[in-house]
């Protein structure tokens, strides 16, 4: 008995022709029952009890571990319904029907029984009910891993992946025009065949291997004979964009940023920018890098920037201060705990190097290494992340020149460092030379810091870095 059924589609689903071949007596009985169902069916869909099928190995009970759907959801045949577990085996139960879930017979962690109803699915009356047997195509398709198959004496070349796609959509390979080498049927051919039938662009399948059909203009030019074979393209197709807005609550790192930045809003920021010639520092670092390497420490530019900032803060301690809530008192912090903005997988974190005022450049480098490895492993402690008094953000490692950094309360100043670029500059003799230029952008709290202070601090910091030898004079 062969029953040909055409199911209507709704929305962006496409028309599928379904060939059903029923060989079994019991199935015949079932189809007879169907007819009875249909004659007595109401305009609403019929509720079918989807029973938990045999798991194998004589198992009769399983525990329901996760539901993938809830009551009211619509499902398609082969969609995952739930995950059950039995004795070290995790089983994905998939739907046999298309329809709407009306009832879940078990809660999480309850025991479900093989052969008893698992869910109730409401099926559209006009669609009818699929038989208990799996869908089989006539003639039965060979599932061997051959690359060609003989149907009606006609060899169809197709890979297993393409075959599977065809089987899942109940397409006879003999009806598809192959555009590959030797008339081989490609994935696109299957998709085009389907598109032809429906006149709509197929929504991308959840399975990774199925690729949405490429617009004709993007197709790589195939062999001449392929170009000659025209694949009919529907002229005006409604462009269906299936993207949806996604709203999710703000948690974790983002929540932390929201809190910090909302507090920072209360601070009246002013900016001050400048250009630093790092030519000498670049050379110095090249010389010192191997020495640090021997000691097991990776030396970047940051330790120099940090130490120079600390030396500057000794002269302008107001930049290392904190204003209280009521703006009545300013506290000059004794320790220079200089924060370094770090970009991790999860987001922005700012650990700080404690007491830079008593650390050598090497010690700062070593501490930075420690913070960086902890940061990337997600193991920074609260102590590393709190107590900062001044912050530097080396955004230049990613890119950019000038920036407008936001002060991290309770601090009163922050500096953003751009990337180091090789640019032409004039020296004292009026000659053009290659200079390593980096831009710095400072932001400060204008309630207690004035422009002159910031400028002088910046000049001092700049002079230390442009002429690293001068740092020696003031190093403590």
């Amino acid at each position: 008995v062969c029953i040909h059924r055409v199911r209507s589609c709704s929305g962006i689903r496409f028309i599928k022709s379904k060939y059903v071949c029923v060989f079994d007596k019991s199935a015949l009985k079932f189809s007879h029952q169907q007819r009875l169902f249909r004659t007595s069916a109401v305009s609403r869909g019929q509720i079918v009890q989807f029973k938990l099928s045999d798991i194998g190995e004589g198992i009769t009970e399983v525990t329901v571990k996760e539901w993938y759907i809830k009551e009211g959801d619509s499902v398609s045949q082969f969609d995952s319904i739930c995950e059950v577990q039995s004795d070290k085996a995790s089983v994905t139960i998939t739907s046999r029907y298309d329809g709407i879930i009306r009832k879940l017979h078990y809660n999480l962690d309850e025991i479900a029984f093989v052969g008893k109803p698992l869910v109730d699915i409401e099926i559209d009356a006009s669609k009818g009910v699929a038989p208990e047997e799996d869908v089989v195509e006539t003639p039965p398709m060979s599932h061997e891993e051959h690359t060609h198959q003989e149907i009606k004496g006609h060899k169809t070349l197709a890979t297993p992946a393409v075959r599977r796609l065809a089987m899942e959509n109940n397409i006879k390979l003999s009806e598809v025009i192959g555009t590959g080498k030797d008339n081989r049927i490609l994935k696109e051919d299957i998709l085009n065949y389907l598109a032809k039938q429906t006149g709509a662009i197929l929504p991308p399948s959840p399975k990774a291997e199925i690729v949405p059909p490429l617009p004709k203009s993007e197709t790589v030019p195939a062999a001449p004979k392929d170009r000659a074979r025209k694949i009919p393209v529907p002229v005006s197709r409604p462009i269906v964009f299936s993207g949806k807005d996604k709203t999710e609550p703000i948690t974790g790192f983002h929540k932390a940023m929201v809190k910090t930045m909302s507090a920072a809003l209360k601070i009246p920021h002013f900016g001050y920018c400048d250009e630093i010639d790092l030519t000498q520092l670049v050379q110095l670092r090249e010389e010192l890098k191997p020495i640090a390497q021997i000691r097991g420490v990776k030396l970047s530019f940051m330790p120099f920037f940090i130490k120079a900032a600390s030396l500057g803060l000794l002269q302008y301690p107001i930049l290392n201060a904190s204003l209280d809530e009521s703006c009545q008192n300013v506290t000059y912090k004794a320790s220079h705990n200089i924060g370094v903005a770090m970009d991790t997988e999860q987001g922005l974190i700012v650990p700080n190097v404690k007491n830079v005022q008593v650390c050598s450049v090497f010690e700062i480098a070593s501490e930075l290494n420690r913070l960086q490895s902890l940061g990337s492993a997600g193991q920074l402690g609260t102590n590393d992340l709190s107590g900062g008094t001044f912050t530097l953000s080396n955004i230049g490692t990613i890119g950019g020149t000038y920036a407008k950094p936001v002060i991290l309360p309770p601090e009163v100043a922050i500096g953003a460092l751009g990337k180091i670029q090789v640019l032409p500059r004039f020296n004292g003799k009026g000659e053009v030379f290659k200079a390593q230029i980096m831009n710095v952008s400072w932001s400060a709290d204008h309630r207690i810091i004035d422009g002159a202070t910031m400028a002088r601090f910046s000049n001092l910091w700049k002079s230390y870095l442009e002429n690293p030898a001068s740092m020696l004079l003031d190093l403590k």
């Binding site: 194998g56 190995e57 571990k65 996760e66 082969f78 995950e83 577990q85 039995s86 004795d87 070290k88 085996a89 995790s90 089983v91 994905t92 998939t94 999480l108 599932h143 061997e144 891993e145 051959h146 690359t147 890979t159 297993p160 992946a161 393409v162 599977r164 590959g180 081989r184 490609l186 994935k187 399975k207 990774a208 291997e209 690729v211 609550p249 948690t251 974790g252 790192f253 929540k255 932390a256 809190k259 910090t260 507090a263 209280d324 809530e325 506290t331 999860q346 987001g347 974190i349 492993a377 997600g378 193991q379 920074l380 402690g381 609260t382 102590n383 992340l385 709190s386 991290l408 309770p410």
Partner: protein
């Protein structure tokens, strides 16, 4: 074009599959033995997923051989906090992975071999697979006392577990995988599989601890290579196929299109931690501050790996109550994860009165909270 290339390699893979025995075109069993070049647990688990989702196993079976660098692998429905020492894992840089099959937690390192038997759903049969492994072991070393229990474990000398089993069944395909301890680090194994977290109440599948032993301890001449070879040979014999092991690279998109997405998914926090069944923690800890010892009681509900409900009971006025409730409000909805909690705690500190005493108390409380995660 990517499609053409993948097609070509699909053909290559299927050509390999197609090798018929001399002149005899078997339509029944043509099985395949494959081995991974990678020691990355996520990549190898992704290969399992790929085969499960994309290969047609109606008339063919596959044996997949793989080994991982140090990793702890929990079952699909397990709770990592209950099963292992996450702090130790992070310190030692041991990976944590959640597989898609059920069962308990295992420790993998290069001294442990993993075997996955892929069949169609109908042909799923774990006992047969394990008997095959035992047969291979006995063929290699007849004096080995190994047997399969009805819990699908393989025991050495009737007492020591050398293999654990888990399985995954889909709509049309199924796989059964098991471990085999050859020369794993038992010391690390026992320390990472011991959970220090107290007060967890959960319906997650618990692991059943067992005494383990390495085959190497029983017979020092045994190596992973020897075992893999013996098992492959036995499999080839039983499935009437060539004893030929195909090497595959789990990062190769041309042979396994879409594999890298699968690998990525297995590494996401949402999969590894977020899939933990709902659980609650009810515990207390002592904090030593200056000269006093304080009792702190914490109650939390964690769902999808995120803190749903949180309650911290502190001695009165030890910390400003407003700050405490801010902390609770902050971490509610966030991941049950030390990094997130640390970040949130540090942020909150920025916006509260700058008092050294307060800061050190705050840090102490937060450090202790984080030890729960």
């Amino acid at each position: 074009m990517v499609l053409q290339a993948s097609l070509k390699n699909c053909l290559q893979l299927s050509c390999i599959l197609r090798t018929p025995k001399a002149g005899f075109r078997s339509t029944t069993s043509r099985s395949l033995i494959i081995q991974s070049t990678s020691n990355d647990v996520y990549q190898n688990l992704a290969v399992e997923d790929w085969i499960h989702d994309h290969m047609n196993l109606e008339n063919q079976q596959v044996l997949f051989l793989w080994r991982n660098s140090p990793a702890v692998v929990i079952g699909r429905h397990q709770n990592p906090w209950q099963e292992c020492n996450l702090r130790l894992l992070r310190q030692k840089n041991i990976k944590l992975a959640r597989r898609r099959s059920g069962g308990g937690t295992v420790y993998h390192d290069l001294g442990n071999i993993n075997l996955t038997f892929f069949t169609s759903r109908k042909k799923y049969e774990r006992m047969e697979n394990l008997k095959l492994v035992v047969k291979a072991l006995k063929a290699l070393r007849p004096q080995l006392d190994v047997h399969v229990t009805d819990r699908y474990d393989i025991l050495l000398d009737r007492h020591y577990k050398i293999s654990g089993t888990a399985a995954k069944l889909g709509r049309t395909t199924a796989y059964h995988h098991c471990t085999l301890l050859c020369n794993a680090d038992k010391f690390v194994l026992s320390s990472v599989l011991k959970s220090p977290y107290k007060g967890i109440k959960s319906n997650a599948t618990p692991s059943v601890p067992a005494s383990v032993k390495n085959l190497f301890e029983e017979d020092p001449s045994l190596t992973c290579e020897l075992l893999l070879d013996a098992i492959a040979e036995e499999y080839a014999a039983q499935h009437q196929t060539d004893h030929h092991v195909t090497i595959i690279n789990p990062a190769d998109e041309t042979v396994l299109p879409g594999i890298n997405n699968k690998t990525k998914e297995l590494q996401t926090w949402e999969w590894v931690y977020g899939k933990t069944p709902k659980f609650s923690i009810s515990t207390c800890f002592n904090m030593v501050y200056k000269d006093s010892v304080l009792d702190v009681k914490v109650d939390m509900d964690v769902k999808h790996g995120r803190i749903e409900v949180c309650n911290i009971d502190l001695p009165e006025q030890w910390l400003p109550p407003a700050l405490c409730s801010e902390l609770v409000k902050s971490i509610t909805g966030s991941k049950f994860c030390p990094t997130e909690t640390t970040t949130l705690a540090a942020t909150l500190l920025r916006v509260c009165p700058q008092d050294g005493e307060l800061q050190s108390r705050w840090n102490l409380l937060c450090e202790n909270m984080i030890t729960l995660m």
